[in-house]
């Protein structure tokens, strides 16, 4: 990378190689056509230059075979490029299940990141090499975008919803990350460093002096503080469904449809509880819009997720049987 005219950054994630390969493929194909057409133009401009002032060109209308040819060939190539690009994208948008989940909150003009054990960082992200990492992105104000050029991945960070992005770092080192969606005065300095470490090093770093509480226990405390617990009794006998095992399950709604309880659904349940009503319950849950911060929603979600491992009570109304093949 010390070349005087640098180009591609390092390829430090599972996506980098494939993204660059597609880039190079498009580059080669388009270059081929661009050079071909340019040479034809230069050739024609020279060969058919005007020799006498009153000369005219040939009387040609066109050629339907040529037209069909230069419509079909580019179309076929374009569809090929499209398909390759779509394959990468779908893989990128659908995260695997075994991820290391990190909560990322963007606000003008800094990033707050939180490890699964609660360790918090500002404008720094430490992750182990070789592990699938999922970032769960929320914003406290405007739209931001989390972009790591060396990983070739980015995703907008949108207020009012969670977006997620995933990748697997394949090389240890320190890489820039940037905010890539214009967000006001200091947009250009809203960035930092991703440090990719050996797993052992990461474990040591993670357990290092960290005064932070982990999000699950912070969430548990909030669950009591906001009185969620008064309705959501864990044995399912309260006015509200038990939240045990709800995360990741299919929830049956009052209107007969079902929905997968993911981060976005939990978030919506807290902020707009009446948007989707669980079958068999009254719409009595108050909205917590404006009362909880992004970070607190993150913690509550982490806590509700942690209830996953506990047994689902028999009266867990609302949780529909999972259809086969559910992720």
């Amino acid at each position: 990378m010390q070349s005087p005219l640098p180009t591609f950054p390092e390829q430090a994630s599972n996506f980098a190689g494939n993204v660059d390969a597609l880039f190079s493929f498009i580059l080669m194909t388009t270059l081929f056509f661009a050079v071909l057409v340019t040479l034809l133009i230069i050739f024609a401009a020279f060969k058919f230059r005007r020799r006498s002032e009153k000369e005219v060109g040939d009387d040609v209308h066109g050629n339907n075979v040529l037209e069909v040819g230069w419509t079909l060939i580019p179309t076929i190539i374009a569809i090929g490029i499209f398909a390759w690009g779509a394959a990468i994208y779908v893989n990128y948008r659908i995260a695997p299940t075994d991820t290391l989940d990190i909560y990322v909150v963007g606000k003008q003009w800094m990033w707050k990141l939180q490890q699964p054990n609660g360790r918090k960082e500002i404008n720094e992200l430490h992750i182990p090499v070789g592990r699938n990492v999922k970032l769960i992105l929320g914003s406290e104000d405007v739209i931001h975008d989390f972009y790591v050029p060396a990983f070739r991945v980015k995703m907008d960070v949108v207020p009012g919803r969670y977006n997620t992005m995933w990748f697997r770092p394949v090389k240890t080192g320190k890489y820039h990350f940037f905010c890539s969606q214009y967000c006001g005065t200091n947009h250009a300095v809203m960035g930092g460093w991703v440090t990719v470490m050996e797993p052992a090093e990461y474990a040591a770093w993670l357990s290092g002096e960290s005064g932070d509480v982990n999000p699950v226990s912070a969430g548990e405390r909030l669950f009591t503080q906001f009185a969620c617990v008064t309705c959501h009794l864990s044995n399912g006998t309260g006015r509200a469904p038990s939240l045990n095992g709800v995360f990741g399950a299919n929830v049956l709604l009052a209107d007969g449809s079902t929905v997968v309880a993911d981060e976005a659904y939990i978030r919506e349940s807290i902020l707009q509880p009446n948007a989707k009503i669980v079958a068999g319950y009254q719409p009595v849950m108050p909205t917590f819009q404006g009362l909880v911060t992004e970070e607190q929603i993150g913690n509550l979600t982490a806590y509700i997720k942690s209830l996953q491992s506990q047994p689902v009570p028999a009266k867990g109304a609302g949780i529909a049987p999972s259809p086969a093949g559910k992720k």
């Binding site: 230069w70 739209i143 977006n163 250009a188």
Partner: protein
């Protein structure tokens, strides 16, 4: 290489639209499409130089990683006001409102546009909108980016968003009226014998553009209206805390603004479709295909808008569908490029300035369009979305394509507009400077994008400096390239050599009348008996048509009066 008139040098006609009446009132209250075109020319040029000033500030600031010239807030205002000025007040009106206005009635053989007073009204609307926006720029400025994304623009920006948005809102109506005028004119005012398939492709391109203007512009008007209401009255359309959705804004914005990029490029394609046949003295290859491609672009252009939003978290499969459509919309542009290239073969090509611009357009538009394929490919867009790659892409199209087309057209029709020639050699040199300056400015930005430099950054890590220096150097050359034509075209309007009716010669109806034309365009309504760009059946042009020069084998079926 122009055909010099043998015999006495041409003289300025005694009476024409410029000297028909005098006085400021005769201009400000004119309903002559040609004078309105000149009003637009003056105001659009004014905005172009304001936008250019902002651009120069941006480039100078980015010369060093820490940028000492501007504060962050000022920098953000510069790129925003640059974008807003160039897109809404320069590019969108440039070719349609100046060249289109001047030429469409002449090309179809009419006395004026269908609604001359509405045409004048559209200019006033443009000016009022422009004044609003200018006022916002000096009173607080604007720092939202030309895209006005919510909730930043509605809830967080400390700049004069409301008046700027109102200015853009107002200006939109001037495009709607222009589009309407063109559509009605082309439908109802064609001269006898001017069938649809004898229309110059410039007219076809403007026909397609007008459709986009009429269908798309109301959407941006409503969108900006909603944003203004959210900002001023706190209505929460796009505010998640009030149940609104910030992404909804982007859908509405791009539903117009993607088609709007075609409002900017289609008219330039129309210009190129005039220049190439004229200077190759040959029919445009595949006339029907090029006309159809313009319409296809206008229609398909309406269904690709979310390719600006692939990484907002939109549904995965929606993104896949929109990516597919994005690749489809690229095809008509490719078809046009192939047809322009094929036209050169067997032609009699001269290298007058307008043709140099046409060559420049071909090369730069090709790079711009092909880099669209990188962005449309979902997997690659994950990396280069919102980086300098995007900035380079759309400048290749909008500056390399649209502005080159505009300048080429301005040179080509300057003798018709003013009755006088521009200085040929100076003009060729300027075209060359522009081409070099342009590539120096914008090519390095592709590499910056690949390296991962996000756009809209007032400061950047030092590894990006080398390309920023190149870009700034190029911009300085480019600036000279723009000043030159501005100076010599103005000079030529008064002191240039008298051009005569048809100096090139070209085949369009606009060249069948005097230069500059009469107020009513033609002394007698012309009757059209030839197809567009048909040099072989036009003895009036005084060219040598050798018997049997047509090349057998590649001759398409004869065309009747379609």
């Amino acid at each position: 290489m122009r055909t010099e008139a043998t015999g006495p040098a041409p003289e300025m006609p005694e009476k024409h639209y410029l000297n028909a009446t005098y006085g400021i009132r005769s201009w400000l209250l004119t309903t002559d499409h040609k004078r309105i075109a000149l009003l637009y020319l003056a105001s659009v040029t004014f905005f172009f130089f304001i936008g250019g000033f902002f651009a120069m500030m941006i480039r100078l600031h980015l010369l060093t990683p820490n940028g000492y010239l501007l504060t962050p807030d000022l920098y953000n205002r510069m790129f925003t006001m640059h974008g807003v000025t160039m897109v809404f007040f320069f590019l969108i009106p440039s070719i349609p409102a100046i060249l289109g206005n001047f030429l469409i009635p002449l090309m179809v053989g009419a006395k004026d546009l269908a609604f001359p007073k509405i045409n004048l009204l559209s200019w006033y609307i443009y000016v009022v909108g422009g004044l609003f926006t200018l006022w916002s720029m000096v009173n607080g400025g604007l720092d939202t980016g030309w895209t006005f994304y919510t909730p930043f623009s509605t809830l967080y920006s400390n700049s004069a968003v409301a008046p700027a948005v109102v200015g853009v809102f107002i200006t939109g109506f001037s495009s709607i009226l222009t589009g309407l005028n063109f559509l009605v004119t082309v439908h109802t005012m064609r001269a006898p014998g001017m069938t649809w398939f004898r229309l110059p492709l410039f007219v076809w391109a403007h026909y397609a553009t007008s459709i986009v203007m009429i269908l798309g512009t109301p959407v941006i008007a409503i969108t900006l209206g909603l944003a203004a209401m959210e900002r001023v009255f706190g209505l929460g359309f796009f505010n998640p805390a009030m149940g609104g959705d910030p992404i909804l804004f982007q859908h509405l914005f791009w539903f117009y603004s993607h088609p709007a990029v075609y409002i900017m490029i289609l008219p330039a394609m129309g210009v190129i479709s005039e220049l190439i046949p004229t200077f190759a003295r040959k029919r445009l290859f595949g006339y029907h295909f090029v006309a159809a491609a313009s319409l296809a672009i206008a229609v398909i252009g309406f269904v690709v808008w979310t390719h600006h939003m692939f990484l907002t978290g939109q549904s995965t499969y929606a993104a896949v569908a929109f990516s597919f459509l994005t690749f489809i919309v690229a095809i008509p542009s490719a078809i046009k490029t192939f047809n322009w290239t094929a036209t050169l073969f067997g032609g009699s090509i001269s290298f007058d300035t307008p043709m140099l611009y046409a060559f420049g357009f071909l090369g730069l538009f090709m790079i711009g369009g092909l880099t669209g394929l990188f962005l449309g490919a979902l997997g690659v867009d994950i990396n280069i979305h919102d980086t300098y790659f995007v900035v380079a892409h759309f400048h290749y199209i909008m500056v390399g394509g649209a502005v080159m087309g505009y300048l080429g057209g301005l040179h080509f029709w300057w003798p018709k507009i003013t009755g006088r020639m521009y200085p040929e050699w100076l003009a060729r040199i300027a075209a060359f400077i522009l081409f070099i300056g342009f590539n120096f400015t914008f090519f390095p930005q592709f590499i910056l994008g690949i390296m991962g430099m996000p756009r809209r950054y007032h400061t950047y890590p030092p590894e990006f400096q080398i390309y920023n220096v190149m870009s700034t150097a190029g911009a300085s050359i480019l600036a000279i390239g723009y000043l030159l034509p501005m100076v010599y075209l103005t000079w030529a309007a008064f002191y240039g050599k008298v051009a005569g009716d048809n100096p090139w010669p070209a085949t369009g109806l606009e060249w069948k009348t005097q230069s500059p034309p009469l107020t009513e365009n033609f002394e007698v309504t012309p009757v059209v008996t030839w197809e567009a760009y048909d040099f072989h059946n036009r003895p009036d042009l005084g060219l040598d048509v050798p018997a049997g020069k047509g090349s057998p084998g590649v001759v398409a079926p004869a065309h009747g009066d379609d």
